[in-house]
Amino acid sequence: MTGEQTLSDTPWLEQGAEPFIKIRGVTKKFGEFTAVDNIDLDIYQGELFCLLGGSGCGKSTLLRMLSGFETPTSGSITIDGMDMSNVPPYERPTNMMFQSYALFPHMTVEKNVAFGLKQDKIPVAEINDRVHDILTLVELQDYKKRKPQQLSGGQKQRVALARALVKQPKLLLLDEPLAALDKKLREQTQFELMNIQEKVGITFVVVTHDQEEAMTLSTRIAVMNDGEFMQLGTPTEIYEFPESRFVADFIGSANMLEGRIVEDGPDHVRVKTDLGEVFIDHGQSVKEGSRVWIAIRPEKMHLSKEPPLKPGPNQAFGMVDDIGYLGDISIYKIRLENNQIIDVTAPNQIRPKSRTHTITWEEKVYLHWQASSAVLLTK
């Protein structure tokens, strides 16, 4: 960046900002089967955008349409102002990092990385410099002469990343870049990936089925299901303001209560559920009497052995059915009067004096949550 043009951190909120990638009404059918269903999407320069969804929801297909390996059945894709309809993969300003890494087995690390530069007829000296620089960036400068078979999973992943990055594409597409790594390495690599993206300043579109990964990496996330976008937003928006039961459930976990609107005021909503009344401290225009769902995150419920001082909304009680001790937190499964199980998580901030939990099995406990914690969902 030269400083002439400072990029906003939230370009999608800017009035009149020109999107870098414009996806308009894109549909992809395989025979009768619709893999991607009428998608509209704008992605901005410098974003680290995540496509998140379960297996088979069409994430890879959408990515492959961006890279040119699949042609949309209908709709259009524009990258940096250029219509991509008739542009073959080898002429697109994009590079892709494949899920299986797909390193060339007959080439050394160095040759793998240099392959893309050679296609552009770049002078040998410059190729060597750029290969050296990118291998230094991914900390593989000592592995230049190795063949892919002689590398560990994490090293292969970094070669694949270097090979895709070295051409300095306008857009880097990554299909489940970290899925093949074990948990520790994956978490570490997530941050490396973010650092690298910041350094090179290239727009990234990442496909993942791992919601934690999506939350950690992205500027924005599109949650996909059955070829459609369920919700589009920043990690915080997606987590704290899910718009549907699917998203609330897919991202993290949520306790879902069914109920009916009793009162819909300008600054509050009251909902009648099996557990009693739920009071939500922000207005939402829904018809009184209509069926709704309340989602409450397990960490936003408070657990206590003492009954509340005075009865009111946003309270419930039940029996401890099960406790999952995870070390840093514990998950309590609370069985309510109507037999519904509610998950509550609580951090283990204080090291217990004895080796037993302060709250134990079959104990009667009281739940409450703040009026701002519950999310009202209509679909």
Partner: protein, 320 residues
């Protein structure tokens, strides 16, 4: 401590059990050496022994007798052993340019046939890999199908097709494309047709086996990195299918060089190939020593490609 040692003294079972298991182990080792031994016996009886017999005959002299060559070792009456070896057969082969011409022609025909098989077989193998699972099985079956009829029968069928009054000429005349039959049978052209036709499956099958292991994503990676399809073929697909190309080429080249039936039936007297020469020396001239020398020279001509084949087989195994 004391308890266990007392037990060991009282109970004789452990040492007996040990003996049984030892016997079992020894028998197992015996079996293993037998199993390892079988291929060596096979190689000795069916390869090394015949080779030595042929080598022996190649350094003997021609004799009007049965068998028609002199003994290598002679015992004089006073018990003195004399060994008679002659390299005249070999010098004869190198002096008479009929032999060198025939060797060169054989190598020329087998090389060109190998290249033709590769040019035809490679796209076929690639096409089979690229087709759907059902079509793939059918196509593979079609490649193997000719093996179900006799090789001789198939060569005779080509005679019927290529003859002056054969099917191809008849059809061409009937269509009015030619007035006089084209001479195809008893020419090098017919020999090429016969060899390429016969050995094509030996090219396709190793290529298929090699290409099956090829990751199709690599083509996409190459395209993604800016490589056009043609460049991708030469930089990615071709190097990765090299083991298959070498295996297939040698499987065609080696037997084609020594081929006898095809040049005899389809080439007639007009095509010089070493297999026919060998046959003539053995049967018409009844000159076993010269025939053996011809065979030994052929063997050494083929050792080089066979060594290459072995080397690449070994390397391919290492890579997996």
């Amino acid at each position: 401590m004391t308890e266990t040692s007392a037990l060991a003294v009282v109970d004789p079972a452990p040492p007996r059990l040990g003996a049984v298991s030892q016997l079992a182990r020894r028998m197992q080792a015996g079996w293993r050496s037998i199993v390892i031994f079988i291929p060596y016996v096979w190689l000795f009886v069916f390869f090394l022994l015949p080779f030595f017999i042929v080598a022996k005959i190649s350094v003997a002299e021609l004799k009007m007798a049965s068998p028609p060559y002199t003994d290598l070792i002679k015992w004089a009456e006073d018990g003195i052993m004399t060994i008679r070896i002659t390299f005249e057969n070999f010098t004869y082969i190198f002096e008479d340019d009929l032999y060198s011409k025939t060797y060169i022609n054989s190598l020329k025909i087998s090389s060109i046939s190998t290249i033709l098989c590769l040019l035809i077989g490679y796209p076929i193998a690639y096409g089979i890999i690229r087709s759907g699972p059902v079509a793939r099985r059918l196509l593979l079956f079609a490649i193997i199908l000719p093996f179900w009829t006799s090789f001789l029968l198939r060569v005779y069928a080509w005679m019927g097709l290529l003859a002056d009054r054969g099917t191809i000429n008849n059809v061409l005349i009937w269509l009015g494309l030619i007035d006089e039959p084209i001479r195809m049978l008893y020419s090098e052209f017919a020999v090429y047709i016969g060899i390429v036709y016969t050995y094509l499956p030996f090219m396709i099958l190793p290529l298929y086996a090699n290409m099956e292991k090829l990751d199709a994503t690599l083509n996409e990676v190459a395209a993604d990195l800016g490589s056009r399809p043609m460049n991708t073929f030469f930089k990615v697909t071709l190097p990765l299918t090299m083991p298959g190309i070498i295996a297939g080429s040698l499987l065609v080249f080696i037997p084609a060089t020594g081929e006898y039936v095809i040049p005899d039936l389809l080439g007639g007297g007009n095509v010089l190939m070493i297999g026919r020469l060998l046959f003539n020396e053995f049967n018409q001239n009844v000159d076993w020593p010269t025939a053996s020398a011809v065979a030994i020279v052929l063997l050494f001509l083929l050792v080089l490609p066979m060594t290459i084949y072995q080397y690449y087989q070994g390397k391919a195994m290492e890579d997996q």
